[in-house]
Amino acid sequence: MKKAYVSAAILGLFLLTPSAHGDLPYTTHPSGPVCNEGTETPPIELTWMQLPEAGSVVKLGSPLVQISIANNTRAGLRVRVILAGALDEVRETLEVGEAVVQPGAKSTLTVDLSRFKRDLGTLRFSGRMVAKGFARPERGGLVSDLAYSPYAYFHKEGGRLVAYRSDALAQLFRAGDFANRAERQRRWAATRGLRLGGIGVLGGGLNLTDDDGGPREGSVR
């Protein structure tokens, strides 16, 4: 069989997916991407009521945060929500509660962050948290969907809880070093031309195993 090696006539062009419904030969397509994958609405969505955007920041008088649960399916769902928090070296999970969410509707659950065993006023670096929802049919049964909220971050300022999302973490709170305790470390990253995505205390012993649930192929994991 002959292999006709296609010439690299368009070497250098950004050769991504072609334009929709176009009939130009691909060698004359304009450079640049047009493929709009990933437009789906998730079956269930967990969002932070007070933190709708990646740049959101809010000051709360009490450590209560609301989690919105949207059911985008055509069936009623019973959604159990847990909250995982990383507070310096502490990794802790809180049971938030359960909500029945009708098709196309939303429900809200509230969680009190003072339930964490760690005193939020003693945090060295921004606490971070993610909510996880297990959705079952309204009348019970196996879990049908699973979803996570975006991560959110928090620390205490005076008597108030400041909560924020990822863009604010990076732009307003020194990537988690909100109290400016790690200037040397931040300078270390900056002088090497590194972008600091976050800074914090490593977990005090995550109770994990070598099995992270990854898929198996054949009989090998």
């Binding site: 069989m1 090696y5 296609v6 250098g12 062009l13 950004f14 050769l15 991504l16 997916t17 929709a20 419904h21 176009g22 030969p25 691909y26 060698t27 640049g32 991407p33 493929c35 994958e37 990933g38 437009t39 609405t41 998730p42 969505e45 990646a54 847990i82 990383a86 670096f125 993610v130 996880k132 297990f134 969907d145 699973l146 975006p150 990822s166 973490l169 988690g176 790690a182 470390q185 270390w188 990253a189 090497r192 031309g193 972008r195 600091l196 995505g197 976050g198 800074i199 914090g200 205390v201 490593l202 995550l206 994990l208 649930g213 990854g214 898929p215 198996r216 192929e217 009989s219 090998v220």
Partner: protein
């Protein structure tokens, strides 16, 4: 207290601290890095999310396979050790003698991974530029795109034996993207390491990937500012949904793997598609106002391109022996439940035709000889790969089957890609010919043979 007493007290404290430090450094430390990952395409029925659904207390921590790291002295910032963590488990050893007094270290976690010593996967931001690929180099003065993203974590006292698991101390979207990108590349290479031995880089950007177009996009391809062995994956995102869809990221990274194979094998940067001109077929076979879709009737050249990327994503996230394996589709417009069974049903459910094999043939009217759907091709490649429980070492062979076929004297534009594949499986390299029996069985219309409805321009699937 006298001066002597104070000195004695200090000496005692010093001895105690030294003993404590000695105890802390009493063992080599095996440190394992994990990504905190958030996903929204739950994929129940596949292994990863089954695991997390059934284990309430298990956080979404994925192994940081091949992740670059540096261990730092917490007092001086001096680098004690730097390398890439294990491909298999994201772990590395820190020798006892290298642990500073006091037993604590800082770790710089990079969103840069090296898979099997020759595949770089990294998450970056900004306009493209040629970079020093060594994450440990000094990147000051380089464009933003070249600046590695790091997370810095301070450890407690490292003591005792047993693995120490640490999560990346940051969790912005790029961490999830790094995990979702590195995993499929590890998976596809893990089972064919001796064959896929060429060097390439996959760089993933979360935002600003689609400047020429106002709409956000997801795609994979070459960029004129980069070397041809670097494939850029854009997961541009206005809704915060895309970066959390593992099947979507797996699909785009799948394209990047095809492209890197193509460049390594043929030395060209043509991509392997024509256009997405649709072939009609009625409402059930439309693109739902997208440029193409899982069930839209397309030229086979386009349906094969997208169906193969779907397959690569599904392959990464499903056990071959799992009859409930599925691909979670990521577009809204079609409206059907987006959890697509990989094993299609031979029986037809008129209310849910996507559950059946031979979707195009059964749901689209008419079906031109040179057209097909991504769904049928997804199942076709899935069947080829998983027949008999799946041959783990055949990833390269599938690339030879699929990508080589695109270079049989044609530009792989709007045309019947099936014929090119069949020619390749009949007359191509031995690795491609190894699929011949299954290929001919899974093509065509014979449900007893697992027919997926992909078929030649004329006649039944066959070799001359």
């Amino acid at each position: 207290m006298s001066a002597f007493g104070r000195n004695l007290r200090f000496v005692s404290m010093g001895v105690a601290l030294a003993l404590a430090a000695g105890e802390a450094r009493a063992a080599n430390q095996e440190i394992c890095l994990r990504y905190p990952v958030e996903t929204i395409d739950s994929g129940l029925g596949v292994d990863f999310e089954d695991h997390y659904a059934l284990n309430d207390e298990v956080w979404p921590y994925w192994k940081a396979r091949g992740a670059a790291y540096q261990v730092l002295d917490p007092d001086t910032g001096a680098v004690i050790q730097q390398d890439y963590a294990s491909n298999d488990n994201g772990c590395f050893m820190l020798p006892e003698e290298d642990i500073p007094a006091g037993g604590q270290v800082e770790i710089a976690f990079y969103l840069d991974s090296l898979i099997l010593d020759h595949v770089r996967v990294r998450t970056r931001d900004g306009g493209t530029a040629n970079c020093n690929d060594d994450p440990f180099a000094d990147h000051s003065g380089e464009p933003d795109y070249c600046k590695p993203i790091v997370c810095l974590g301070m450890s407690g006292v490292l003591e005792g034996t047993g693995k120490k698991y640490f999560d990346f101390p940051c969790s912005q979207p790029e961490v999830t993207l790094q995990a979702l990108s590195a995993y499929p590349l590890y998976w596809w290479h893990h089972f064919d390491p001796a064959e896929l031995d060429y060097d390439f880089t996959v760089t993933v950007r979360h935002e600003n990937g689609c400047d020429p177009w106002e709409a956000p996009c997801s795609n994979a391809g070459w960029d004129d500012a980069l070397g041809d062995d670097e494939i850029l994956v854009n997961i541009d995102d206005e809704t915060e949904d895309k970066f959390r869809q593992k099947f979507l990221v797996g699909h785009e990274v799948g394209h990047s793997l095809e492209e890197s194979y193509q460049f390594a094998t043929f030395g060209t940067t043509h991509y392997l598609y024509g256009s997405y001109d649709l072939a009609g077929g009625g409402d059930a076979c439309s693109d739902g106002e997208e440029s193409h879709a899982l069930t839209s009737l397309e030229y086979t050249s386009a349906a094969i391109m997208e169906g193969f990327a779907h397959f690569l994503s599904a392959d990464a996230y499903n056990d071959h022996n799992d009859s409930t394996g599925r691909f979670t589709y990521y577009k809204d417009a079609l409206g059907f439940p987006r959890d697509i069974r990989l094993e299609g049903d031979p029986d037809v459910n008129p209310a849910a035709p996507w559950e059946s094999n031979r979707f195009a043939q059964r749901a689209c009217t008419p079906v031109a000889a040179n057209s097909g759907t991504e769904l049928d091709w997804l199942r076709f490649f899935w069947d080829l790969h998983t027949e008999g429980g799946g041959a783990d070492g055949e990833h390269l062979s599938l690339f030879e089957l699929r990508v080589d076929a695109a270079f049989q004297g044609t530009g792989w534009t709007n045309q019947n890609g099936y014929d090119l594949l069949q020619e390749n499986v009949c007359e191509g390299e031995p690795a491609a010919q190894a699929f011949q029996e299954d290929f001919l069985a899974f093509a065509g219309e014979d449900d007893d043979l697992g027919g997926n409805g992909v078929k030649p321009t004329a006649g039944a699937p066959s070799c001359p």
